[in-house]
């Protein structure tokens, strides 16, 4: 089973040279720590920076320089600041090659829900609806099941949707899966996790095609 950090590590393997990448809050943010050697990517944060660097060294933090998670950050050489309309022009216009975000539920047709639990939690969608409606390449980083042990990979989402038929790939603590026409196609197992365990943790249609390799971190 993968830790959150390892989920991020596995997702980092998906990065390709020259990509602009938007990382959501939570696990996705950690992806930046595992960029493979020889791969150059640039991180966009939708509040208005491209070329986001690591957290600032203690004492150098600047209230005017934050990421979409409201964390203080730094800017790398070649960075650029811009307004929110321009930021979402980048996103909506598909200039960002990869979006990684968290999910509360994903359906076998690629729907995602991650912004609202009616009557309980309403934080708002932030930029997530724009991101999932626009990006060609969306990876969801999440736990395979919720705290009650129920699958988060469903036939149909039960929560209000963030986007429809948009998720391409999911990396959970148990597996890597792709959304294909017939459902969740199992691509890799987490180290030590059996296909059976993944099956049991997946409510939506799981497609197991031949031998499923264990992922290499």
């Amino acid at each position: 089973m993968l830790s959150k950090t390892q989920i991020a590590q596995r997702i980092a393997q998906e990065l390709q040279n020259g990509w602009y990448v938007n990382l959501g809050i939570g696990i996705p943010t950690l992806v930046a720590n595992y960029i493979p050697k020889g791969i150059e990517v640039e991180f966009q944060s939708e509040n208005g920076i491209l070329g986001m660097g690591p957290f600032p060294i203690e004492g150098t933090e600047d209230a005017d320089l934050i990421n979409a998670g409201k964390q203080t950050i730094t800017a790398l050489p070649g960075a650029v600041y811009f307004d929110s309309a321009t930021s979402f022009a980048m996103i909506r216009g598909q200039h960002v090659q990869l979006t990684v975000l968290g999910g509360m539920e994903v359906s076998e047709t690629g729907d995602i829900a991650n912004w609202k639990i009616p009557g309980k939690m309403v934080k708002g969608m932030g930029g997530a609806m724009d991101l999932v409606a626009s990006a060609d390449n969306i990876i969801v980083a999440m736990m395979h099941t919720n705290r009650a042990g129920e699958s988060k990979l469903l036939k149909k989402c039960s929560l209000p949707l963030t986007g429809v038929a948009c998720v391409k790939k999911i990396v959970t603590n148990l597996a890597v899966l792709e959304i294909v026409e017939a459902g969740f196609k199992l691509i890799e197992r987490a180290p030590g996790v059996s296909v059976e365990e993944i099956k049991n943790a997946t409510e939506g249609n799981l497609i197991i095609d031949g031998e499923i390799p264990e992922m290499v971190l």
Binding site: A63, I66, F88, M125, G127, T162
Partner: protein
């Protein structure tokens, strides 16, 4: 074209109960602190506030929420504010949640004389309810309308008395679009200079969008999530 006013008090003259305000900022970054304090002083009520976030409990728009001055919030993310959640879930506060990119573009559209545009964001979700859907290039889009406000209140780093503005870092965010969309736009700046002191090539918001400008005082610029690496 001198648009300088003395302070927030003078700048906020004419803001009345029931008005629609736009307020720049992302989280607590780039928010018009002086003007928000003045809105608290004025105790104007029944406001509709268009702002990406709603501040935190004791800072930013949270100050207006505490005093129940806001009737309706139009935002994209409001997750940092318990009082907000309480008022919303209890039904005291009307809330219109909008995808962040649509919010930014709707403000820009309001300022740019574009009454409506199509976007893919929100298709198939609650956001699309009651909105026209149309397919372009095989992909469904929804029709979103422009947003405008009686007053837009923005915060810039530097400005000149002609209303030209320069923002700093990610404190730019929603400020430029909101500046475009106010019937009256108030800009508060950290440093107010004379026309000609800003390089005309480096101005982010043209003075034509700004009706009143003043140099603010005592900026707290609170950091929401102080994340750092150790010094060593």
């Amino acid at each position: 074209m001198n648009k300088k006013v003395a302070n927030a008090e003078e700048a906020c003259k004419g803001i009345e109960n029931g008005m629609t305000l736009m307020l720049g900022g992302f989280g607590l970054c780039g928010i018009p602190e002086n003007s928000i304090s003045e809105l608290v002083n004025l105790n104007v009520k029944e406001l509709t506030c268009i702002s990406n976030n709603a501040g935190v409990d004791d800072f930013g728009l949270g100050l207006l929420l505490q005093k129940k001055q806001i009737k309706k919030m139009i935002s994209s993310y409001v997750g940092e504010n318990d009082e907000f959640e309480r008022q919303m879930l209890s039904g005291e506060l009307e809330v219109d949640l909008i995808p962040q990119g649509s919010l930014a573009e709707r403000c820009r559209a309001g300022g740019a004389g574009i009454p409506a545009f199509f976007t893919p964001a929100g298709y198939g979700t609650e956001v699309a309810e009651g909105k026209e859907v149309r397919e372009f290039n095989g992909k469904p889009h929804i029709l979103e309308s422009a947003l405008t406000a009686d007053f837009a209140i923005v915060k810039a780093w530097k400005g000149d008395t002609a209303g030209n503005l320069v923002f700093k870092g990610t404190a730019r965010n929603f400020n430029p679009m909101m500046a475009m969309a106010g019937t009256i736009t108030i800009a508060e700046v950290e440093e107010l200079v004379e026309p000609g002191e800003l390089n005309p090539n480096e101005i982010h918001t043209a003075g034509i969008f700004v009706q009143r400008i003043f140099q603010g005082t005592g900026y707290e610029k609170r950091i929401e999530q102080r994340t750092v690496r150790p010094k060593n």
